[in-house]
Symmetry: C2
Subunit: 228 residues, 2 copies
């Protein structure tokens, strides 16, 4: 979901940056999009990559794609050196905003992301659980609304192994061609690109994409008041 929500929301994504996601799972999913030409990944912890390659080969298989370039380092520093307007999409597959990942939820980081994106480019960041972290989510939405001049949205999905069984995402676009995240324009289930050597998609489809933006009333009230 963290991959297909942004990449299915824009036509023909070509250049993608992944921040975090060292296990390779996001890379594997980005690979399914045939329009992609270049995939950069910046992971701070090389051991995550090594351990995933050793013990989770079906996830780390993402590194086998020749379009991938791995950068080991701090995503915040990496982004600062990226030329303006480089990427169509940035995917932030981070841990929780405590300790090393805290900066990835703050306004200066979002400003670097916005600068690295082309006009009408999109970002998808891990954005916690509506059951557990509404106060954090509220802050993230406020930060994103200030930084991203296009559309600012919250989506969520079921992950049985995560605390409270769900995880959320912020989906934002920069000023430029409008992006309607709720109605995917690049349906990965409409062609056969989703049947890769890693098998067909088992979870994501266009209906699940749109449904992810439907929020319970308690969350909708808080998020929409800050996002609009």
């Amino acid at each position: 979901m963290i991959t297909h929500l942004p990449l299915c929301s824009i036509p023909n994504p070509k250049k993608v940056l992944v921040i975090g996601g060292g296990d390779g799972g996001v890379l594997r999913e980005v690979s399914r999009h045939s329009s992609i030409e270049k995939i950069d990944i910046c992971e701070i912890d090389k051991m995550v990559v090594d351990v995933s390659k050793q013990f989770f080969p079906k996830v780390a298989v993402g590194y086998d794609d020749p379009r991938v370039t791995l950068h080991i380092g701090d995503g915040v520093a990496f982004l600062k050196a990226v030329p303006e307007g480089t990427y169509d999409a940035v995917i932030v597959d981070s841990s929780d905003p405590i300790g090393p990942a805290q900066e990835l939820f703050e306004k200066p980081f979002f400003q670097s992301v916005a600068k690295a994106l082309r006009p009408g480019g999109v970002v998808c960041t891990q954005a916690e659980s509506i059951w557990l972290h509404m106060h954090i989510i509220e802050d993230i939405v406020v930060n994103c609304r200030q930084v991203f001049k296009g559309s600012v949205n919250y989506a969520w999905t079921s992950v049985p192994t995560y605390p409270s069984g769900v995880i959320g995402f912020m989906l934002c676009s920069t000023e430029g061609p409008a992006v309607d995240f709720k109605h995917p324009v690049n349906p990965i289930d409409a062609d056969y690109s989703h049947v890769s050597k890693n098998g067909p998609l088992r979870f994501y489809n266009s209906e699940i994409h749109s449904a992810a933006f439907c929020l319970p009333s308690f969350a909708k009230k808080v998020i929409e008041s800050k996002a609009n």
Copy 2:
């Protein structure tokens, strides 16, 4: 969700039967629908009712509605004595299909439910987790497809305290006026009936209703092949 999914899918529900649901939570939610005239509940275990009234007054408040009649007994037996075509909706708020609740997932029970419903009446039954119980769900869908001559659908929602963080529902209708469960005709959030003395609805709304029917590809494949 187990209450509003069926009751928002038909216009002006008047007579409702709840099987199980002894804690009173479903009753509380049925009460929000101003068209309702009669609410029968058949709970097998009186102690569930007593304990809920003692320790969970905000849930058991459902019993305060004068439209409610409580029957202590076996839901299977109760249904057999119900005159044909009595109810607009039956809600089966059961435990898992192991032990006492097992019968509530079997074909003879669904046949009694269908008989108790008016033409174009609806049933909503607790239907397990797509992450844990696809084999059980497959059987339930097959049974329902054989019994209910209208529409047969699976919906799911997030419940952080349940195993795997989700719960599912079978939504079926009997032969008669067509019911399109995915597009609610009786939007409880369009008027003020949802602001009862128990406060406004905090989770359910029409968008969440429709989104509940969007399934991940792995579940959609199994369920749609059996339901259509």
